[in-house]
């Protein structure tokens, strides 16, 4: 790993809960460090318990120690699993939540490391996505490449070791000045891919959203209008845009 960038990368992010949910019910997590070039997004599964805690552990774990080697995947997860259990295993929970505890929490993860040597490496499990764009053209979509490939039952990372661990997917590439690297959770990623598939430019929409950063109400209106038009599934939204 390098020591990072002399000048921090330009990084902007946005998050909004699913319509009808309160902010504290947000189950996704994002983390980033524009100096080291490390970024991650995790999406906690709605139906599992304390998945917000798990999503946060995954992104923080990735930023602290970005996993790159598939062979180290299980060992990388082990301390995070222990921390999840240490945190939630002792909590006083209502009876219905106690029943879920033994199943653990689940989350999708996408992590990205951008290196000053013009390379990048990414990992993913589940349906949170990375896109690399160059002058409006898609250079890389990872790990999902088509809008039809999203469903409500992705293989996720569980806080409890399953019989069969989902495989860590990896990809790497090179970047040029002016490229945009985007990380996002599934609903927005599906929208992003469907725009590309219909020869439209999703990046301008993303920029518009981020440019409204000092006006959260307008940002929410922009997302809600997409939800109303049913081009964006009602789900937690996380967006991270890194301009290199």
């Amino acid at each position: 790993m390098s020591d990072g960038f002399a000048t921090p990368l330009r990084w902007r992010a946005y998050q909004l809960p699913k319509r009808g949910n309160r902010v504290e019910e947000f189950e996704d997590a994002l983390a980033g460090d524009a100096q080291t070039g490390r970024f991650a997004v995790a999406d906690g599964a709605t139906e599992s318990v304390c998945s917000d805690v798990w999503a946060k552990l995954l992104v923080e774990g990735y930023l602290a120690q970005p996993i790159t080697d598939v062979a180290e995947w299980i060992a990388w997860l082990a301390p995070l699993r222990r921390r999840w259990w240490d945190d939630v295993g002792q909590r006083e929970l209502p009876w219905y939540a106690e029943h879920k505890l033994a199943d653990g929490a689940a989350a999708a993860l996408v992590g990205l490391v951008i290196q000053p040597d013009k390379t990048w490496q990414a990992v993913a499990v589940g349906d949170s996505c990375l896109f690399q764009m160059r002058a409006g053209e898609l250079i890389e979509a990872f790990p999902i490449t088509r809008s039809d490939d999203f469903n409500n039952r992705p293989r996720l990372i569980s806080s409890h070791p399953p019989k069969q661990e989902p495989q860590l997917q990896t990809v790497s590439g090179v970047w040029q000045s002016g490229d945009e690297l985007l990380l996002m959770t599934d609903a927005l990623a599906q929208w992003f891919l469907s725009k590309l598939e219909s020869q439209q430019d999703p990046v301008s929409g993303v920029r518009y959203l981020l440019d409204l950063h000092d006006n959260p109400a307008e940002q929410a209106v922009a997302i809600e209008s997409l939800r109303d038009a049913e081009v964006l599934r009602n789900d937690d939204v996380i967006l991270s845009l890194i301009e290199v």
């Binding site: 319509r19 939630v88 033994a102 019989k163 599934d186």
Partner: protein, 281 residues
């Protein structure tokens, strides 16, 4: 596309359970001869309600995705809610979770997820005790369900279509229930028609049947009639059932013989679930 409305707190749906409480339910249950059918049905409804509460449960409380009604039919046709909820029609899933008749404490060995096994004390709420008394006024029960569901649809016209689950040994004796079943299935929200599923519990020790595509092969006329009264599974549910490794086809109906319908609750989409196998530790 029908049956695609998202179930959430601003747009909840409703589930009505019809519980056969007739005298014939005192006979033994084929799959478990030491049990009465009424025990089997009480177990089934308690497990269905537990599953629903767990599905909506979070560390910080219950999310109100469902309004739930339970109609008992036997000596009378009426709300079968007991305890604090006695006599009520549709109630929220949060009220159900906090108002059981009693709670059984059981100890279960569970993996702690980090290589160890711990004893976990789990609470199993019970809302219904077995009842077996009177005739089988299934037609009237379906008519009462139609009233309740109609009221819900007026207030929630764009909801995921309500689900009615009938648990019975199948022998209606207040006239042919088929027309009442059809009338119930014809109710609709903007997202599709009301779904009527039937779980037939029999004295016969026949192997369980889930989601059959045709009535041929069902063991008796009652089962066949209940099959005909049951809704076809919408394509999305067929797809989820297939992912859960049930044998289903495009003509599969929401019908179970000597099997419970707890899986149906898992099929209801309230957000991202883990794929099957992800947590089979």
């Amino acid at each position: 596309m029908a049956y695609s409305a998202q179930i959430n707190r601003t747009n909840p749906t409703c589930i009505v359970f019809l519980v056969d409480q007739s005298a014939s339910m005192a006979k033994s249950f084929g799959a478990q001869p030491d049990k009465k059918k009424s025990d089997g049905v009480a177990d089934a409804i308690n497990r269905l309600l537990q599953t629903l509460c767990i599905k909506c449960g979070r560390a910080d409380g219950i999310r109100e995705y469902f309004q739930i009604g339970v109609i008992g039919y036997g000596l009378k046709v009426q709300s079968a809610m007991g305890g604090n909820l006695g006599g009520r029609g549709l109630v929220s899933i949060g009220e159900i979770a906090s108002s059981p008749l009693r709670v059984e404490n059981r100890t279960k060995l569970v993996e702690d997820g980090v290589g160890g096994v711990i004893k976990q004390n789990l609470k199993f709420p019970v809302w219904f005790e077995p009842v077996a008394n009177g005739k089988t006024p299934m037609r009237q029960a379906l008519e009462l369900a139609k009233e309740w569901v109609s009221g819900f649809l007026t207030a929630h016209p764009d909801c995921y279509p309500p689900l009615v689950v009938n648990l019975t040994d199948g022998e209606a004796n207040d006239g042919d229930p088929s027309a009442a079943a059809t009338a119930l299935r014809q109710l609709s929200s903007s997202d599709g028609n009301v779904l009527l599923f039937n779980a037939h519990i029999s004295e016969r020790n026949d192997p369980p049947i889930m989601f059959p595509e045709q009535e041929q092969g069902l063991p008796n006329d009652f089962a066949k009639q209940l099959f005909r009264m049951s809704s076809e599974l919408p394509p999305r549910l067929v797809e989820v059932a297939r992912q859960e490794e049930f044998t289903v086809g495009p003509a599969s109906r929401g019908f179970a013989f000597n099997a419970d319908l707890v899986a149906v609750i898992r099929f209801l989409d309230i957000g991202t679930q883990q794929a099957k196998g992800a947590t089979d530790s």
